[in-house]
Amino acid sequence: LSGRDPNDRWVLALFAAAAAALLLFTVNAWVLFGVVACAMLVLSLAVGFGAARPLPLVSALLAGLFAVYAVLVPLMAWVSRPDQPLQLFLGLPAGTALLVYAVWPIPLAAGLVYALVFRRELLTPEKLRQFLAGHGRR
């Protein structure tokens, strides 16, 4: 597939991740399934950012988001032990606190980075002007 579209390798990676997720589900390897599922989300973001991927901010987002997910899912598994006494972190058991205070809000960073690079790279006024001049209906 390589050589025709800059997204070829990312789509191939998505293919491999989907296959791996199915395999991990069948053997109930749920920690790895969770990491691979999160990798699929990051790979999908990478496909969408396309040409903006090399920007330091976008690269940092993709790498950071994957690193955070890759740490959080096993960490949640590790700290969530029903046989241990209850220890609260900001009002919630540790594993649930990671879910509520980290897994939930951290991906907002992707929306923030999208906003920050939108005019700089994703759709510069010059790109838009050229596109509309070449292909616009109006």
Partner: protein, 492 residues
């Protein structure tokens, strides 16, 4: 006891219905052609578009089913609603710019229009229209039943009268003003939902004695319940997260909002702000379920007959009437905004997409027929909802997963990957429909259930993705070259 005996609640709901009616009258004067009816004349500003996208996704399921699921299964279902933050980002990053720019080059009014432009030929358009119609019937049926049930609770009328009032208002503003009326009622409805959710979160913490006390009570009952995976288990929770996150990009009632935006530059802050707004609404989903289960366990409240009563019972017992009134109006808002979007999608599929795929042309009186189709769809969905509840429940259950599995590969990947082909689009849509429907049916009849709590929609999405990429790989070499404008959209 009907809530009409609490006049404040009934007044809030009636005021809400009157406002919807008024917006319908306003939009009627501004709807002159199919573009106005289906994509609001591409006139939306960023705020309206963002709130409309958020509120059309937050259906009655979010306001009733969500708290019920938390009450029943603990933190498991939080993975569904927490997926919104990454889901909205994915929608904007993968599709926002490309769908909107495609609409600058061609007359794109619907998702099947976009699919036809991307892949050419009639097959992809027909497959996408069929997937949308199937999903619409299920979603609409469940929303219609929910409208009736809420109005029965609030006004103390029979189900027939409740449906007549609720669907009468819905039909009026959808038929008269199309999606233009829909998005402005969505704006109104979205603001109600956010206000309601913020207030309910505060009262839920009060009722349970604070978050720490709620956690301690639930931990004593069952540590798994308040653990991060809930009682459904880790694989169920994680598969929900995956299918809901990627599925956000596959919800036609959400992503068609990109086609309605006036200026493509206005996409800039949408992913962040819509995700943040949805987080506020999720507070209701999370807090009512946890607080209600906690007060039941503490013996302050009798156990609920069914989990879906968690939200109404909590509102009646623990919030002042004005807050309960706003939340009930918000609940009705959530249901009706989703129903409006689906009516519009269904009408577009019947009047525009299927004729275009079948005969290569559409009616000259597309606007008039769209209004007729909206009424007919509403009538058919009501009959289904009342007399074929098993089928409706089945279609409603597999709605999100079907859209995710059918639309994510073919649209989200297809709009970003030049090697994707029409054959792959059709194949992946067919796989998603067959796998979802078959597995749901087998599961409902107790014949076969996926092991380890795996979600059916997630399983179908993974298979559909493999089929889409694999078939594109195989058929890519013989595929015709992309039209210049589509190529430009994919490369920009």
């Amino acid at each position: 006891m009907p809530l009409i005996q609490t006049p404040t609640i009934a007044i809030c709901v009636v005021v809400y219905l009157v406002c919807c009616f008024g917006i319908g009258v306003w939009a009627l004067r501004r709807t002159h052609n199919p573009a106005d009816f289906f994509v609001a004349g591409r006139s939306l500003g960023p705020l309206v578009m963002m709130v409309a996208a958020m509120s059309s996704i937050m259906s009655g399921f979010g306001f009733v089913g969500g708290p019920g699921l938390v009450y029943h299964s603990g933190a498991s279902s939080l993975w569904m609603t927490f997926a919104a933050t990454i889901g909205f980002a994915l929608s904007w990053v993968l599709l926002g710019k490309r769908l909107r720019l495609l609409a600058e080059t061609r007359p794109i009014l619907t998702l099947p229009d976009a699919v036809a432009a991307r892949y050419g030929g009639r097959g992809p358009r027909m497959a996408m229209a069929a997937a949308i119609v199937l999903g619409v019937v299920g979603y609409l049926g469940t929303q219609i039943l929910a409208v009736g049930v809420v109005l029965v609770s609030v006004l103390g009328v029979s189900l027939g009268v409740g449906l007549l009032i609720g669907l009468g208002v819905l039909a009026f503003y959808t038929v008269a003003g199309g999606i233009l009326a829909g998005v402005y009622t969505d704006l109104f409805q979205g603001l109600i939902m956010m206000a309601a959710s913020g207030a309910v979160f505060y009262f839920a913490l009060q009722a349970g004695g604070g978050l720490g006390q709620i956690s301690a009570t639930l931990w004593a009952m069952d540590p798994r319940f308040i653990g991060p995976w809930g009682t459904r288990g880790p694989l169920a929770s994680l598969s929900w997260y995956l299918v809901f996150a990627l599925g956000w990009v596959g919800q036609p009632h959400g992503i068609t909002k990109f086609l309605m935006l006036k200026k493509v530059e206005d996409l800039r802050w949408g992913a962040f702000l819509t995700g943040a707004a949805y987080m506020v609404c999720s507070l209701l989903w999370m807090s009512i379920g946890l607080a209600m289960r906690s007060v039941v366990e503490a013996g302050k409240q009798p156990p609920l007959e069914v989990p879906d009563l968690a939200a109404p019972a909590f509102l009646m017992s623990y919030t002042p009437p004005i807050v309960a009134g706003i939340v009930f109006a918000g609940l009705l808002a959530a249901i009706m905004s989703t129903a409006n979007s689906f009516l519009n999608l269904g009408a577009a599929a019947v009047v525009r997409d299927i004729p275009l795929a079948w005969r290569g042309r559409t009616s000259k009186r597309e606007l008039g027929w769209s209004r007729v189709a909206t009424v007919v769809l509403l009538a058919v969905a009501t009959v289904f909802a009342l007399y074929m509840q098993n089928l409706v429940a089945l279609l409603g259950t597999f709605g999100w997963g079907t859209f995710a599995a059918a639309i994510f590969p073919s649209v989200a990947l297809g709009m970003n990957w030049k090697r994707a082909t029409g054959a792959a689009c059709v194949a992946s849509i067919l796989v998603s429909l067959v796998v979802n429907f078959t597995l749901e049916l087998l599961s409902r009849h107790g014949i076969y259930t996926l092991p380890h709590g795996m979600n059916v929609g997630c399983f179908a999405l993974l298979l559909s993705l493999l089929v889409f990429i694999g078939v594109s790989w195989i058929t890519g070499r013989g595929a015709p070259p992309l039209p210049a404008d589509v190529k430009a959209v994919l490369e920009i």
